[in-house]
Assembly symmetry: D2
Homo-oligomer: 347 residues x 4
């Protein structure tokens, strides 16, 4: 009953997933590994004391009959090739974002998966597994606040490094809102416009920061999404859904409250890795549990990866034009429609 | 040392101001009253046991030598006429919003007041006296959060009545944000664009509700301002200023916290009158105190009334066009520049 | 309709009351003043530009026919004498705590007031006028949380000065909880026991600090009351009532929330004077309004001053013995029973 | 490297631990099971598809050479016998509370474990693994609020069933505070006194509820601990530590905030099982990880079980006498002193 993983890419995120499958989660095992850097592969096998075979490339990992599922954690441009090969081999795939480097690449994966006839792919959009978003979705689905009309959200990072460019506000940052918000309200995106506030002195010269994206959905929901990656005070994710009958807020991260020196205060996370650590655990546990129980993964699909890609493309265009840009309208195939609800246990 | 008021208009807001000057505040007295409705005047004199003369029209009130200051609480279209007459008579004026029915009318008042040579007029923008906004401004002025880059604010009412029309989202509702926000950040408005989310089922047929206004200031601050007058859950005013070094939030209204039936909860005001009741008291007390101490009013000026009018006009146009509309750029005269800071005592 | 005050004692609290009657509140006027320090009297008349007569002693103030109400703000040991004289003269009295230096003194005042036949005296227990306590009482009286079973409360000061002694934890600090709590739950005290936690290093050598008082009421409510006057972080008043159906908390003081340097924080007051400033205003305004409207004061009565005194005495004894001490049981006379509810307007 | 468990007792808590070891945690496996009820054993093997041997009694489980660690989840009176046998066999033991039915039984286990020469036993006090308490301890250990002087805590349950008796307020409820609080402040208990507030109408006739325990530690910390098992509104655990320099509060459970129908509210858990679900996972994961990494368990020890027992005994006596009762003073053996700090990863 153990799901045997072949890992393609042993960089930072690869090692983390290997660690959690090996030492934290239940039901998985790393049996095969490859990386362009041979030393990296050896060190990971040593560090986690893996009983795993080393392979020269992604194809040989995928073809290994011992491998049930492929973990794609290589660099982005290589994802499409590995995912396509895994689908052709009929193997399960957990692929970190992006699913492919272009919307067309995502579309090819969607078509390959549909042709092959069974859901095999899960994309690493972990926010859907965060207990806060899960609870927020439960409130929305209960109709407790009625039909959603607006969303106000915020994605703030303490600071960005010198490699972070203005387009990455979309491809690396807003991408998480893009995925989680349409899932939250069961809706699709229609248009986007970008506003550029006064730039913070804490951003490097080449970078536009902050940025505000106004997205509209097919149902008419207006989303105000702030991306601010040099906010200077912490990693802060906020989301508020305004409905016809009330408002629901993503919970703040819970923390000790202190009263000291004239202030009542609570810590805000500074390290973004801590914010969604539980969600990373849960997305992979659910991947394993769903396959064991239903024969297929249950999380964000290839289609979700494709939607994220076409929405990102429009956001990037809107950054250039300053105008309201339409987001390509696509019809969700029946194949992807009856996605079962998240089944994992919430605390 | 008592400031003697002549009141023009004894409708709802007029009676409230008469009540607070008579029974709550210190240093003022109602000595003259007029209203188009004679019965209303008599009933107000009876109710508050005023020792005040009844006059047939605004001019006779203004000319009464016993009157030091004129309280203009008639209906909006009549304001300009009374304010102009008071300025010409060299009397102090406290005028409820709008200062005049048009931007041109406001401009005429500004010019008359400047020509006359001394600040006489205060406009009833009470939010600047709300302890929450005052504290928020204190935080901003201390540079504790650095230069402001963005503002996110919300103006929600439980429900609107049948006379409330889509343009009143600007002239009656957003107008308070328009006045208070540029004061808060010492900046002027440059452009505005409107987004119309899906309409709530709780709004009447003729009304567009909610509406989102994106305002940009000359310094580059982007303001996201939501107006939602049928939010169905309460009267809720929120304001968050995002600076280069941190964020500051207008305090929530303080209220008893209860734990009951599986919920920890706090009451939200439903009646909007309660939200700024203290601010209404303070604006009039400050009007009286400033005149006693400095010989002129210290609160929102004719110029502020004019700025509110030209900004409203652009917002109304933006509602029609759906495009980004420029807000008329005007240079603040020296006459209005050295407005002393609010001097009233804060708790 | 103006209530004319004679002031006995122009120290700190006397000056504050003179200021608020003169410059903040409506319906009162200072017409007579006395103090053992002649310079103090003159300076207060100058500072507030009072049109008031100077008298040599409390008796002459009280006898002045121009005086409607006496404000007793002398030092504690002198209170009883002035209050008794005012009652005998049939004049209204607003007396700062303590009503008298001993429980017997309070009892004499109660008897004199009853004999004289009409409520004349209000004691300066201002917490009953704090909007938080008023709202908390409203929740309790609504039976929203059912019958109260327990109260947990906290009275913390940043630091105490060298004149503050261990018994003052009762007579100056806990005294406010003693008055407000039995009013809050309509109950009387039965016993008290004191616990002395480890002493804080911030307290001076002679002082026991913190102290915990466990009070039990006749109805069986157990009150856990912490007094901690060198808590080192701020002035912090907390009160939580646990009922059969839920819990209600006194609201925290509302303040701007900031997000900065990895913390979400709110200011806690450090200066205790700011905490109940509005309540001080309201208690005197209500004193004046009630006399005008009903012919007698409506706030904390002589009886309440007497109850505070006998409860304090038991708390002081419990400090000495470490045992559970009974609180003298007294029957509330009909004269004091039908105290009308607080009538002042709440925001 | 897999830790092989033998389970003694397959009632509710036994099944839950079997489930988490099998389906949630990493590094453990159920290989042997026994229960007085044969059907229960079979059903648990079926339900969780265990590859485990069925044994007739605790001794045979313990002796099975395949078993590395024993999970004692039988009923309380049977614990001591199984734990003693496991220690004699040199096997690891995870024992649910109570460690033994009496303080003497706990003492015998402590002596057996010391004689045997190595820490083998962990007691199921899960709160030490709750992320809130862990963070609170981190704050205390950092000396951020200085030396602790007082603790105010609350243990409330929505309702108790008919089998719950007044002594269980100590043995089943307060027992968790008893364990976690002395760990939190690195201190030992000295005395306890009980106060009985007015009984709630929601408690059955035989039950005293609520109860307040005032505990004093050797260092002089005074703990005010409320037990209220029919509070009627939810499962609510609160803990506030007041130090010389400030105060730290256990975080409230984080939850979606809604604004609806005039209230801003957050859900309070009603089902107590959800509150410490993560802590239950972490205590067992840490048991396995610590044994793998250090050769011995790292959590609450036999000594902690013993301390809980002698403290409970004094609390029970105090319930009877109403007097302050001393808690037996015992010296912690060196064997138990150098307990390594919690090593598990916190999010
Ligand atoms: Mg991921
Ligand atoms: Mg106004
Ligand atoms: Mg007072
Ligand atoms: Mg346990």
């Amino acid at each position: 009953m153990t799901l045997k993983f072949g890992v393609i890419g042993t960089g930072a995120i690869g090692r983390e997933h290997i660690n959690r499958i090996t030492n934290t989660l239940s039901g998985g095992k790393i049996v095969a590994v490859t990386d362009v850097n041979n030393e990296a592969v050896k060190s990971v096998i040593d560090e986690f004391q893996l009983d795993a075979a080393i392979f020269p490339d992604d194809h040989s990992v995928i073809k290994d009959p011992n491998v049930d599922a492929v973990l794609v954690t290589s660099w982005g441009p290589a994802h499409e090739h590995s995912v396509m090969a895994a689908i052709e081999a009929g193997k399960y795939v957990f692929c970190e974002k992006p699913l492919a480097a272009t919307a067309e690449g995502c579309q090819r994966i969607v078509q390959a998966e549909m042709k092959q006839g069974k859901r095999l792919v899960q994309v690493g959009f972990m926010r859907r597994y965060d207990s806060g978003y899960v609870e927020l979705k439960r409130v929305l689905d209960s109709h407790d606040i009625g039909e959603p009309l607006m969303i106000r959200c915020v994605h703030r990072n303490t600071s960005s490094n010198e490699n972070y460019t203005s387009d990455m506000a979309v491809s690396d940052t807003l991408i998480h809102e893009i995925d989680v918000l349409h899932w939250l309200v069961n809706d699709e995106y229609q248009s986007v416009q970008v506003f550029f506030p006064k730039k913070t002195k804490h951003a490097l010269g080449h970078l536009i920061d902050p940025q505000i994206f106004i997205l509209e959905t097919k149902a008419g929901i207006v989303i105000q999404a702030e991306v601010f990656v040099n906010c200077n005070y912490g990693y802060d994710i906020q989301c508020e859904v305004i409905g016809e009958d009330g408002v629901a807020h993503l919970p703040e991260v819970s923390s000790v409250v202190t009263r000291k020196e004239g202030k009542r205060s609570t810590e805000i996370l500074v390290d973004w890795k801590l914010r969604f650590q539980d969600a990373y655990d849960k997305e992979l546990q659910d991947f394993m549990d769903s396959i064991r129980k239903t024969g297929k993964p249950n999380g964000p699909s290839s289609w979700d990866g494709y939607i994220a890609a076409i929405t990102s493309d429009a956001c990037l265009k809107a950054q250039q034009t300053g105008e309201k840009e339409l987001i390509q309208s696509v019809e969700k195939p029946v194949f992807y429609q009856n996605t079962p609800q998240l089944s994992f246990k919430q605390t």
